[in-house]
């Protein structure tokens, strides 16, 4: 007997558009949280370096919590905590907030490592040449320390990009969520997951290779 009604339709070209749009959303939420998180993280890293004991007792344990609790738990927790204190955030906003703090917690350590990578004698020399503290940070620490930890920062950024897939738990339709929606309709999990995986790979692989080649060039 011929089926008169089909519930599932195959994977078509416009579904590729749907996935592409979702990939853009993944990129958008990642770029936003990585840039915000990097700025805040560098600030925290500087605090950790300069503040010594005070920072070690205040900032460091808080950042440590964000590194020791699974991101998915953080997301669910924040998403359900925000309404308690009267904030009305949608999935995207909650995702950005948590991903930003998570990035900042990871970047803080990287940034501190970067400042520590600059020789004290070099900084003393800069100061004795008449540079102010900020000039020293801007013209000596940033170029030298930044170079030392740039590969580590790329690793953090790529990690956050991949972890942004977890925001789908809150209902934000990014790449992985979109692929799940398509799987439900088309019943072709293998094909669609492969396409989604290829998207992620295409986003992540070139950047990681570029960072690796930069690292090699700078090491010479």
């Amino acid at each position: 007997m011929e089926p008169t009604l089909t519930f599932f339709s195959g994977f078509g070209v416009n579904d590729l558009w749907f996935l592409g749009e979702a990939a853009l959303r993944t990129m958008w939420i990642s770029v936003l949280s990585i840039s915000l998180g990097t700025v805040i993280g560098v600030l925290f890293g500087w605090l950790l370096y300069e503040g010594k004991l005070t920072a070690a007792l205040t900032v460091a344990p808080v950042l440590d919590v964000f590194r020791s609790v699974p991101l998915i738990i953080q997301l669910v927790l924040f998403y359900n905590f925000a309404p308690i204190v009267g904030l009305n955030l949608d999935a995207f906003a909650s995702g950005v907030v948590i991903l930003t703090i998570y990035t900042a917690a990871l970047v803080a350590n990287v940034a501190r490592g970067g400042i520590e990578a600059v020789d004290t004698s070099m900084r003393r020399a800069a100061r004795s040449l008449g540079m102010t503290y900020w000039q020293d940070l801007r013209h000596v620490v940033l170029p030298i320390g930044g170079r030392a930890v740039f590969p580590a920062w790329v690793g953090v950024a790529l990690g956050v990009m991949k972890d942004s897939a977890l925001v789908s738990v809150l209902g934000y339709v990014e790449l992985l969520k979109a692929s799940q929606i398509l799987i439900t309709r088309t019943q072709e999990p293998f094909l669609i997951l492969s396409v989604a995986g290829a998207f992620y790979f295409a986003l992540s692989y070139p950047i990681s290779r570029y960072a690796a080649s930069l690292e090699k060039r700078w090491a010479q």
Binding site: V65, S68, V69, P70, L71, I72, I73, Q74, V76, L77, N80, F81, I84, V85, G86, L158, K162, D163, A165, L166, S168, V169, L176, S179, Q180, I183, E188, P189, F190, L191, L193, S194, A196, G197, Y200, F201, S204, Y205, S208
Partner: protein
């Protein structure tokens, strides 16, 4: 603004169940790390010493594991393989996904460790009359072990954190169990807050234990 009543009693009542689930989390993480270390070691040695199809197999394993989200890998083992009629249980999905991911990351760590040992050491030990096996187990491996010790403990922490993704494929480890209870009682915030604390404690125990072990292992 703050008119939410916290109810901790249901959480405290199901705390024993959560602890049991935490042990399951730990079990799957340890198991995936153990298998991951063996596979990672093989992948690293293949990438260092072999050419041809084996090399490409190992390289694509490592690159896919490192450049796609862990959640995607889990979904792939969960739903993607279903297309071939291979239906794994939630436990196996998480175990396979975590092992795949850990093996990829560990392989890169091991490769870096092996590359850090100058080849002249192997030649020197060979000319002292050691067999290749002896040179590896007595000269190379002890040094590599020292180099990769900290990355491997970090990976262990990541494995615990990543196992929380089991919640999304229906595995009742700590996160899955928490979600189960949370959706039964609607005390989402309270449950996930307690779970966050449990994860934090687990991570701290792992890091503390690894530090103690390092102090004993690397005394000189």
């Amino acid at each position: 603004m703050f008119d939410y009543n916290f109810h901790w009693r249901p959480v405290m009542k199901s705390l024993p169940d959560l602890i049991d689930a935490a042990l399951l989390t730990l079990q799957v993480a340890v198991l995936s790390m153990a298998i991951g270390i063996i596979i990672g070691l093989c992948l690293a040695l293949i990438r260092l010493h072999m050419k041809g199809p084996l090399y490409w197999f190992a390289t694509s394993w490592v690159e896919v594991a490192r450049n796609t989200p862990a959640l995607f890998q889990l979904f792939f083992f969960g739903f993607g393989l279903g297309a071939f009629g291979l239906h794994l249980s939630p436990y196996l999905i998480v175990l396979a996904g975590l092992t795949f991911n850990c093996a990829g990351y560990l392989a890169e760590n091991f490769r870096g460790g092996f590359q850090a040992i100058p080849e002249t050491q192997i030649r020197a030990s060979r000319s002292l009359g050691m067999t290749a096996w002896q040179a590896y187990t007595r000269v190379v491996i002890p040094q590599v072990f020292r180099i990769v010790y900290h990355p491997v403990t970090n990976q262990m922490v990541w494995a615990v954190l990543m196992s929380s993704l089991g919640m999304l494929v229906g595995f009742r480890e700590l996160s899955g169990e928490t979600q189960f209870f949370a959706s039964r009682t609607f005390r989402i915030f309270e449950y996930f807050a307690v779970t966050a604390v449990i994860y934090y404690v687990i991570v701290k125990i792992i890091l503390g234990a690894s530090r103690l072990m390092a102090a004993r292992l690397f005394r000189y």
